[in-house]
Protein backbone atom coordinates (compact mmCIF):
# COMPACT_ATOMS: atom_id res chain seq x y z
CA UNK A 1 0.00 0.00 0.00
CA UNK A 2 1.21 3.53 -0.86
CA UNK A 3 2.47 5.00 2.42
CA UNK A 4 5.41 7.37 1.83
CA UNK A 5 5.23 8.94 5.30
CA UNK A 6 5.23 5.51 7.01
CA UNK A 7 2.15 6.46 9.01
CA UNK A 8 0.60 3.98 11.39
CA UNK A 9 -3.11 3.22 11.12
CA UNK A 10 -3.74 5.32 14.26
CA UNK A 11 -1.98 8.35 12.73
CA UNK A 12 -3.96 7.93 9.51
CA UNK A 13 -7.22 7.94 11.45
CA UNK A 14 -6.17 11.06 13.37
CA UNK A 15 -5.34 12.78 10.07
CA UNK A 16 -8.69 11.74 8.56
CA UNK A 17 -10.41 13.33 11.58
CA UNK A 18 -8.40 16.55 11.22
CA UNK A 19 -9.13 16.79 7.51
CA UNK A 20 -12.82 16.08 8.10
CA UNK A 21 -13.01 18.93 10.60
CA UNK A 22 -11.04 21.29 8.39
CA UNK A 23 -13.18 20.59 5.31
CA UNK A 24 -16.36 21.08 7.35
CA UNK A 25 -15.09 24.40 8.75
CA UNK A 26 -13.96 25.78 5.39
CA UNK A 27 -17.05 24.51 3.55
CA UNK A 28 -19.16 26.43 6.06
CA UNK A 29 -17.00 29.53 5.56
CA UNK A 30 -17.41 29.28 1.77
CA UNK A 31 -21.16 28.83 2.16
CA UNK A 32 -21.32 31.98 4.32
CA UNK A 33 -19.86 34.01 1.51
CA UNK A 34 -21.19 32.40 -1.63
CA UNK A 35 -24.47 30.61 -0.90
CA UNK A 36 -27.36 32.98 -1.50
CA UNK A 37 -29.96 32.84 1.26
CA UNK A 38 -27.57 31.31 3.77
CA UNK A 39 -29.19 31.71 7.23
CA UNK A 40 -28.35 35.10 8.74
CA UNK A 41 -28.24 33.54 12.22
CA UNK A 42 -25.19 31.54 11.15
CA UNK A 43 -23.50 34.55 9.56
CA UNK A 44 -23.79 36.80 12.60
CA UNK A 45 -21.39 37.12 15.52
CA UNK A 46 -22.55 37.21 19.14
CA UNK A 47 -19.56 39.40 19.92
CA UNK A 48 -17.00 41.03 17.57
CA UNK A 49 -14.26 39.06 19.36
CA UNK A 50 -15.87 35.73 18.42
CA UNK A 51 -16.10 33.98 15.05
CA UNK A 52 -19.51 33.76 13.37
CA UNK A 53 -22.04 31.34 14.87
CA UNK A 54 -21.71 29.10 11.80
CA UNK A 55 -17.94 28.91 12.20
CA UNK A 56 -18.24 28.00 15.87
CA UNK A 57 -20.83 25.36 15.04
CA UNK A 58 -18.77 23.90 12.20
CA UNK A 59 -15.76 23.57 14.49
CA UNK A 60 -17.62 22.14 17.48
CA UNK A 61 -19.97 19.77 15.63
CA UNK A 62 -17.53 17.23 14.06
CA UNK A 63 -15.76 16.12 17.29
CA UNK A 64 -19.07 16.09 19.19
CA UNK A 65 -20.86 14.04 16.52
CA UNK A 66 -17.96 11.59 16.30
CA UNK A 67 -17.87 11.25 20.09
CA UNK A 68 -21.61 10.58 20.12
CA UNK A 69 -21.14 8.02 17.34
CA UNK A 70 -18.46 6.34 19.42
CA UNK A 71 -20.90 6.12 22.35
CA UNK A 72 -23.79 4.79 20.24
CA UNK A 73 -21.97 2.24 18.06
CA UNK A 74 -21.82 -1.27 19.51
CA UNK A 75 -19.08 -2.83 17.38
CA UNK A 76 -15.72 -2.71 19.15
CA UNK A 77 -13.54 -1.98 16.12
CA UNK A 78 -15.86 0.73 14.77
CA UNK A 79 -16.03 2.29 18.22
CA UNK A 80 -12.23 2.39 18.35
CA UNK A 81 -11.98 3.87 14.83
CA UNK A 82 -14.58 6.53 15.58
CA UNK A 83 -12.75 7.40 18.79
CA UNK A 84 -9.50 7.96 16.88
CA UNK A 85 -11.13 9.93 14.07
CA UNK A 86 -12.91 11.98 16.73
CA UNK A 87 -9.65 12.75 18.49
CA UNK A 88 -8.09 13.77 15.15
CA UNK A 89 -11.05 16.04 14.60
CA UNK A 90 -10.51 17.56 18.06
CA UNK A 91 -6.81 18.08 17.23
CA UNK A 92 -7.91 20.48 14.50
CA UNK A 93 -11.08 21.98 15.96
CA UNK A 94 -9.96 23.01 19.45
CA UNK A 95 -6.77 24.89 18.45
CA UNK A 96 -8.55 26.34 15.41
CA UNK A 97 -11.33 27.75 17.57
CA UNK A 98 -8.75 29.38 19.85
CA UNK A 99 -6.91 30.72 16.77
CA UNK A 100 -10.14 32.15 15.34
CA UNK A 101 -11.11 33.84 18.61
CA UNK A 102 -7.61 35.34 18.90
CA UNK A 103 -7.63 36.52 15.30
CA UNK A 104 -11.09 38.10 15.60
CA UNK A 105 -10.11 39.74 18.89
CA UNK A 106 -7.00 41.22 17.27
CA UNK A 107 -9.12 42.64 14.46
CA UNK A 108 -11.67 44.09 16.90
CA UNK A 109 -8.87 45.65 18.96
CA UNK A 110 -7.30 47.06 15.80
CA UNK A 111 -10.59 48.69 14.84
CA UNK A 112 -10.90 50.10 18.37
CA UNK A 113 -7.32 51.43 18.26
CA UNK A 114 -8.03 53.22 14.99
CA UNK A 115 -10.14 55.70 16.97
CA UNK A 116 -13.68 56.93 16.69
CA UNK A 117 -14.93 57.45 13.17
CA UNK A 118 -16.08 61.06 12.67
CA UNK A 119 -18.60 61.16 9.83
CA UNK A 120 -18.37 64.03 7.33
CA UNK A 121 -21.38 66.33 7.67
CA UNK A 122 -23.76 65.94 4.75
CA UNK A 123 -25.87 68.88 3.60
CA UNK A 124 -29.44 67.83 2.91
CA UNK A 125 -31.79 70.12 1.01
CA UNK A 126 -35.16 70.94 2.53
CA UNK A 127 -36.77 70.90 -0.92
CA UNK A 128 -37.14 68.01 -3.28
CA UNK A 129 -35.58 68.37 -6.71
CA UNK A 130 -38.35 69.47 -9.09
CA UNK A 131 -36.37 70.18 -12.24
CA UNK A 132 -33.03 69.02 -13.58
CA UNK A 133 -30.44 71.27 -12.05
CA UNK A 134 -27.61 72.63 -14.13
CA UNK A 135 -25.15 73.82 -11.59
CA UNK A 136 -22.04 72.76 -13.40
CA UNK A 137 -20.76 74.09 -16.70
CA UNK A 138 -18.09 72.54 -18.83
CA UNK A 139 -15.28 75.04 -19.22
CA UNK A 140 -12.04 74.90 -21.10
CA UNK A 141 -8.82 76.11 -19.62
CA UNK A 142 -5.67 76.37 -21.65
CA UNK A 143 -2.49 75.51 -19.86
CA UNK A 144 1.11 75.69 -20.92
CA UNK A 145 4.11 73.76 -19.61
CA UNK A 146 6.38 75.72 -17.35
CA UNK A 147 9.56 75.31 -15.37
CA UNK A 148 9.53 75.45 -11.59
CA UNK A 149 7.33 74.12 -8.84
CA UNK A 150 4.01 74.32 -10.63
CA UNK A 151 3.34 71.76 -13.31
CA UNK A 152 1.24 74.07 -15.47
CA UNK A 153 0.60 77.80 -15.78
CA UNK A 154 -2.95 78.90 -16.46
CA UNK A 155 -3.07 81.09 -19.60
CA UNK A 156 -6.75 82.07 -19.59
Amino acid sequence: MFNPLKMSSDEKQFLIGGLLSSITAYAEKSAEFYVPGYPTELKTQIDPHLPTNGQILSLVAPPVVLKLGEKIVKSGTTKEKLGKIGFGSLLFSAPRLVQQIGSNSAYAEGVKARGAFIPTPVAVSKYALTAPATNARATTTRVAPTVGLSKYTVIS
Partner: protein, 122 residues
Protein backbone atom coordinates in the same frame (compact mmCIF):
# COMPACT_ATOMS: atom_id res chain seq x y z
CA UNK B 1 -5.45 11.55 29.34
CA UNK B 2 -2.68 9.35 27.93
CA UNK B 3 0.81 10.83 27.47
CA UNK B 4 0.66 10.38 23.66
CA UNK B 5 -2.75 12.05 23.42
CA UNK B 6 -1.61 14.90 25.66
CA UNK B 7 1.58 15.48 23.68
CA UNK B 8 -0.32 15.49 20.37
CA UNK B 9 -2.76 18.04 21.73
CA UNK B 10 0.11 20.21 23.02
CA UNK B 11 1.77 20.04 19.59
CA UNK B 12 -1.46 21.09 17.86
CA UNK B 13 -1.87 24.03 20.26
CA UNK B 14 1.77 25.12 19.83
CA UNK B 15 1.31 25.13 16.04
CA UNK B 16 -1.99 27.01 16.34
CA UNK B 17 -0.29 29.45 18.75
CA UNK B 18 2.34 30.40 16.17
CA UNK B 19 -0.39 30.58 13.50
CA UNK B 20 -2.38 32.86 15.80
CA UNK B 21 0.60 35.13 16.55
CA UNK B 22 1.24 35.74 12.85
CA UNK B 23 -2.46 36.04 12.03
CA UNK B 24 -3.21 38.34 14.98
CA UNK B 25 -0.57 40.85 13.88
CA UNK B 26 -2.05 40.94 10.37
CA UNK B 27 -5.61 41.26 11.68
CA UNK B 28 -4.69 43.96 14.20
CA UNK B 29 -3.07 46.02 11.46
CA UNK B 30 -6.01 45.29 9.12
CA UNK B 31 -8.35 46.58 11.84
CA UNK B 32 -6.38 49.81 11.86
CA UNK B 33 -6.63 49.99 8.05
CA UNK B 34 -2.92 49.27 7.56
CA UNK B 35 -2.97 45.57 6.58
CA UNK B 36 0.58 44.41 5.78
CA UNK B 37 -0.60 42.70 2.59
CA UNK B 38 2.16 41.76 0.11
CA UNK B 39 4.79 42.11 2.82
CA UNK B 40 6.70 39.10 4.10
CA UNK B 41 5.39 36.73 5.50
CA UNK B 42 1.96 37.69 4.15
CA UNK B 43 2.90 36.90 0.56
CA UNK B 44 1.78 34.15 -1.76
CA UNK B 45 2.94 33.18 -5.26
CA UNK B 46 -0.69 32.55 -6.29
CA UNK B 47 -3.98 33.55 -4.61
CA UNK B 48 -5.06 29.88 -4.50
CA UNK B 49 -2.02 28.95 -2.36
CA UNK B 50 -1.95 29.85 1.36
CA UNK B 51 0.52 32.67 2.17
CA UNK B 52 3.98 32.16 3.67
CA UNK B 53 2.83 32.89 7.25
CA UNK B 54 0.56 29.83 7.14
CA UNK B 55 3.35 27.65 5.75
CA UNK B 56 5.73 28.85 8.46
CA UNK B 57 3.22 28.08 11.22
CA UNK B 58 1.50 24.97 9.86
CA UNK B 59 4.46 23.24 8.20
CA UNK B 60 7.50 24.92 9.75
CA UNK B 61 6.57 24.44 13.40
CA UNK B 62 5.77 20.68 13.17
CA UNK B 63 8.93 20.17 11.12
CA UNK B 64 10.96 22.10 13.68
CA UNK B 65 9.51 20.07 16.55
CA UNK B 66 10.18 16.83 14.65
CA UNK B 67 13.79 17.76 13.86
CA UNK B 68 14.37 18.86 17.45
CA UNK B 69 12.84 15.65 18.77
CA UNK B 70 14.99 13.47 16.52
CA UNK B 71 18.13 15.48 17.29
CA UNK B 72 17.59 15.44 21.06
CA UNK B 73 16.20 11.88 20.92
CA UNK B 74 13.02 12.98 22.73
CA UNK B 75 10.00 10.95 21.71
CA UNK B 76 7.54 13.37 23.29
CA UNK B 77 8.73 16.14 20.94
CA UNK B 78 8.22 13.83 17.95
CA UNK B 79 4.70 13.07 19.18
CA UNK B 80 4.05 16.82 19.57
CA UNK B 81 5.25 17.30 15.98
CA UNK B 82 2.69 14.72 14.84
CA UNK B 83 -0.10 16.60 16.63
CA UNK B 84 1.10 19.83 15.06
CA UNK B 85 1.25 18.18 11.63
CA UNK B 86 -2.36 17.02 11.91
CA UNK B 87 -3.48 20.57 12.75
CA UNK B 88 -1.16 22.17 10.18
CA UNK B 89 -1.85 19.71 7.37
CA UNK B 90 -5.60 19.98 7.83
CA UNK B 91 -5.43 23.79 8.01
CA UNK B 92 -3.35 24.08 4.83
CA UNK B 93 -5.60 21.60 2.98
CA UNK B 94 -8.79 23.37 4.09
CA UNK B 95 -7.45 26.81 3.29
CA UNK B 96 -6.27 25.74 -0.16
CA UNK B 97 -9.76 24.37 -0.84
CA UNK B 98 -11.32 27.66 0.33
CA UNK B 99 -8.94 29.74 -1.75
CA UNK B 100 -9.68 27.60 -4.84
CA UNK B 101 -13.41 28.26 -4.31
CA UNK B 102 -12.72 32.02 -4.14
CA UNK B 103 -10.62 31.84 -7.30
CA UNK B 104 -13.32 29.87 -9.09
CA UNK B 105 -15.91 32.45 -8.03
CA UNK B 106 -13.69 35.26 -9.30
CA UNK B 107 -12.94 33.53 -12.61
CA UNK B 108 -16.56 32.72 -13.38
CA UNK B 109 -17.52 36.31 -12.50
CA UNK B 110 -20.05 35.22 -9.92
CA UNK B 111 -22.43 38.03 -9.00
CA UNK B 112 -21.87 37.59 -5.27
CA UNK B 113 -18.11 37.84 -5.75
CA UNK B 114 -18.53 41.02 -7.78
CA UNK B 115 -20.75 42.57 -5.11
CA UNK B 116 -19.07 41.41 -1.90
CA UNK B 117 -15.52 40.90 -3.15
CA UNK B 118 -13.06 38.37 -1.78
CA UNK B 119 -13.61 37.40 1.85
CA UNK B 120 -10.96 38.10 4.46
CA UNK B 121 -9.26 34.79 5.20
CA UNK B 122 -8.48 34.45 8.87
Amino acid sequence: MEATTKNMLIGAFVTAGVDLALEAYYMYMAGQGKAPANQFPYVTPHPAIPPADDWIACAGVPFGLYALGKWMKKDNLVTMAKGGAIYGGSELAGQTMFRCIIEAQAMTGAVRYAVVGPPMIR
